[in-house]
Amino acid sequence: MSADRPKWAEWADWVREKDDPRSAGPKLEALEGLVVLDLSSQSYAGAYCSSMLSEFGAEVIRVEPPQGDFLRTCTPYGLVHQGEGLNYLVEGRNKYHVTLDLNQPEGREVLQSLAAQADVLLETFPVGTMDAWGLGYEDLKKTNPGLIFASITAHGQFGPQANDPMPDYDNVAQAKSGIQYATGAMLPPEHDPGTCPWAVSTKASPWIAWCSAGTFMATGILAALHWRHRTGQGQALDVATTEAYMRLDNYTHIWFQGGGHVTERVGGLDNALWLYCFAPTSDGGVFLGGLRLEMWQAFCDMMGKWDEWGVGDWDSLSPFLNQEAQLKYFPEVAKFTSRHTSGELERMAVEYSRSGRLAPITTVIAPILSPQEAMLDPNWNERGIFTPTQDPVYGRVVAVQAQHKMTETPIRTKWTCRPVGYDNAFIYRKYLGYGPERLNRLLQDGVL
């Protein structure tokens, strides 16, 4: 280790020794022994939610229709790897995969047997589907009062639009959230939308609303599990994808109530912060951040505007915290950043922290990286995020993993996916005692 390590290096080493994902293998798992039935249907929110649990060691049983879940076909540009769509290729992680036709009475009977032995049931069917099958919460809790019955849908289980027949999709949830409306490039002055089709409300990529719904549901399931630990009582949980994503918006609803203001697009700028923006560079773009006056002053100094703007006389950031001021200064900022590469600007900020007028104060300058650049960054590889998984079926798969780092019960990726029905024999033997003869008959009857 180099001599100029920080004072707290001993602490960093202690943490790393305890939580480096490379040493996760033999440690305990937080959710070991938890049995989760994931019935989710054409929903990444459902698959992502059960991944959150299976990464912590829950035994997740993915129940798919005999032809497999439609989600397996949702893959960028139709690309498949060994027959598997790329989203499902990484989100089948640590799960057992069985088939079951819930449209057949015998299939529903099998499901009841599994549900009687499960801790959590997760489903994403249109509201009322499970009830119509006799598999709703009120039905299943009779045999399993501790069951946590979790539903993720477009509009939720109750409310005036609960029976709206629209299916749940990420891009439509983003449209409903109010967030997409207020995100995107501003129309440049003296242009019209026809010539700038990119200057419109723009969604976040990819599937962030579904991820939010799945992650919120995971927290709900875990809180319900704690409650059950204390009382033995199970319950039903309800997440609407639009609401889950909307919850990540900090202020547009409060601004509207208090000020009647509809938040509009500000491109790379920010409604609440300055200096805090994306700016173009000669080879891409950078993020500029300086939430204190001195950090903005430092950037003005780097731009060579110290004297021209009388920067040294400024005594408050307040005059810059409104859109009028930002629209006045941003073009100057962009003019400057456009003359440099992202790398030059990044180095300039480091240099300023050593020898600038306001050193060690400087501006946060971060290049806007492509995913490829991000994936090659040694920092993330050292922290084990992109360590390839050797999947028994699919071979080398790069799936982001180890996003939580924990000393006692770290998450791990044991496998990334399984083909449809791959674990029928194991799971139906383990839970129902079905042997080859019974399984073959169920397969022939199309139940599995």
Binding site: A30, T75, N171, A204, A240, I385, K405
Partner: protein, 455 residues
């Protein structure tokens, strides 16, 4: 039936227990990424104590919406700090550190989002607290984690930097354009959420074994986790996935279209019956049989997807969002106008579900804010009260949790270990506060109380 399960859900919230009641959370958290997580725990019934360095406290109190504040308070701070108790405690002072340790001994969860090593400097890092309380679940959130090259450089981070670093901004844009920043603090909010999954998993481990643990979360690693197909795509093709604007390249058709009145509608119709429904709605049932669009994997091919999206765009350009939404309901696909804040606030569905819920607060009055978005039939989360001033609950916390005497309190204030708000917007109570409302177990009789004859 689902109907029976959820009948009168909103009305009955106050009658039901909360799933995390009895758990105590100590937070030393700032600006969005930090305080959001403890808020969610508090909405689920945990007792969250917000520790702030007096007199300024959490910097989030400074943020406004282009100058707009809600009764002087930052709308962001108001949103991210719910159901909490407020302690003004200076961790730079040994006496403050001692109080923190006394509270930590009685806490279940500690959360902070300071730079690596700072809690150690305050003598309240995990290794010290764990000796006092081996069951403690101790979460540290920051930009790059506590180890690795960027952590060692002490590189600063924030939401914008994380959007830039993770690749998500680059993906969330139109081809050839400088990426735009998400309007929301996406990396902060999502990172805070993912961290609670780890905290609550650790709680399950503690429920079974009695053991606590240390958890670290990087906001960039968290947002990278959501980028699903992007990483295997890179690994398999060796190429960057091209930005695709509003088009969802994993679902076809799924995109945002411009309607006749210039407003936008998003639409998705991928499953066979949904796609057939869309074709019927467009009056083009033959498209469902077109071999270019025969099944989902075929439709997703670049050339086919482009052709199909052009057909839909031409159709949508002649319609209004209202017509398209109605057709979607009738034909079983998904569509919605791209709603603005006014349209979201007019949505009666989310109000009747109690997601957009009315907070009734002594200090900030009545206003609508988001409930925790998981409805729980037996233990419903609930927003109960809004933000408070720095150190607002000092007396209550010190008396109730540590039984401090008048003399001890006085000494703590004199050393500066305890402190209250600065007389600045966002730090102090709102301007129309009467000087006494909401103070719990306060000994200081304010002029307003004296006038009313004291307590």
């Amino acid at each position: 039936m689902a109907e029976a399960t959820w009948r009168d859900y909103v009305k009955n919230k106050p009658k039901k227990p909360k799933p995390l009641s009895g758990l105590r959370v100590l937070e030393v958290c700032t600006i969005v990424f930090g305080p959001s997580g403890p808020s969610w725990l508090a909405e689920m019934g945990a007792e969250a104590i917000k520790v702030e360095i007096p007199p300024l406290g959490d910097l989030e109190r400074d943020l406004s919406c282009s100058g707009f504040r809600f009764k002087e308070q930052s709308p962001l701070f108001l949103h991210d700090n719910i159901n909490k108790y407020y302690l003004g405690l200076d961790l730079h002072k040994p006496e403050g550190q001692e109080i923190f340790c006394q509270l930590a001994a009685k806490a279940d969860i500690i959360e902070n989002n300071l730079r690596p090593g700072v809690m150690e400097r305050f003598n309240v890092d995990y290794r010290k607290i764990e000796k006092i309380n081996p069951g403690i679940i101790y979460l540290e959130k920051n930009g790059f984690g506590n180890w690795g090259p960027y952590a060692e450089e002490n590189r600063p981070s924030n939401d914008g930097a994380s959007q830039a670093f993770s690749g998500i901004a680059w993906m969330s844009t139109f081809p050839g354009q400088t990426p735009v920043k998400q309007m929301i603090y996406l990396s902060d909010m999502y990172g805070a959420l993912l961290a609670e999954v780890a905290v609550l998993s650790a709680l399950r481990h503690r429920d079974r074994t009695g053991k606590g643990q240390y958890i670290e979360i990087s906001q960039t690693e968290s947002i990278m986790r959501t980028m699903s197909w992007v990483w295997p795509y890179l690994d398999i093709t060796g190429k960057n996935p091209p930005p695709a604007g509003n088009r969802d390249v994993s679902v076809c058709p799924a995109d945002t279209f411009c309607c006749a009145d210039g407003s936008l509608v998003s639409l998705a119709a991928a499953a066979p019956q949904e796609f057939a429904g869309l074709c019927a709605a467009m009056g083009r049932p033959e498209l469902a049989r077109d071999q270019r669009f025969a099944d989902h994997l075929t439709r997703l091919q670049e050339e086919n997807a482009t052709a199909l999206l052009e057909i839909i765009a031409a159709w949508a350009a002649q319609r209004s969002p209202r017509e398209i939404e109605a057709l979607a309901r009738e034909h079983g696909f998904a569509a919605s106008r791209v709603r603005d804040a006014a349209q979201v606030m007019a949505d009666q569905h989310i109000r009747q579900r109690g997601f957009m819920t009315q907070v009734d607060d002594t200090m900030y009055g009545t206003y609508l804010d988001h409930e925790f978005p998981v409805m729980m039939s037996a233990t419903p989360p609930q927003k109960k009260w809004a933000a408070r001033a720095v150190g607002f609950d000092n007396e209550f916390l010190m008396k109730n949790l540590l039984n401090k005497s008048e003399e001890e309190l006085k000494a703590l204030y004199e050393t500066g270990a305890l402190g209250k708000w600065a007389d600045r917007p966002g730090r102090r109570p709102p301007p129309d506060w009467d000087g006494s409302s909401d103070l719990i177990l306060s000994r200081d009789q304010t002029p307003a109380q004296a006038e009313r004859g004291g307590k």
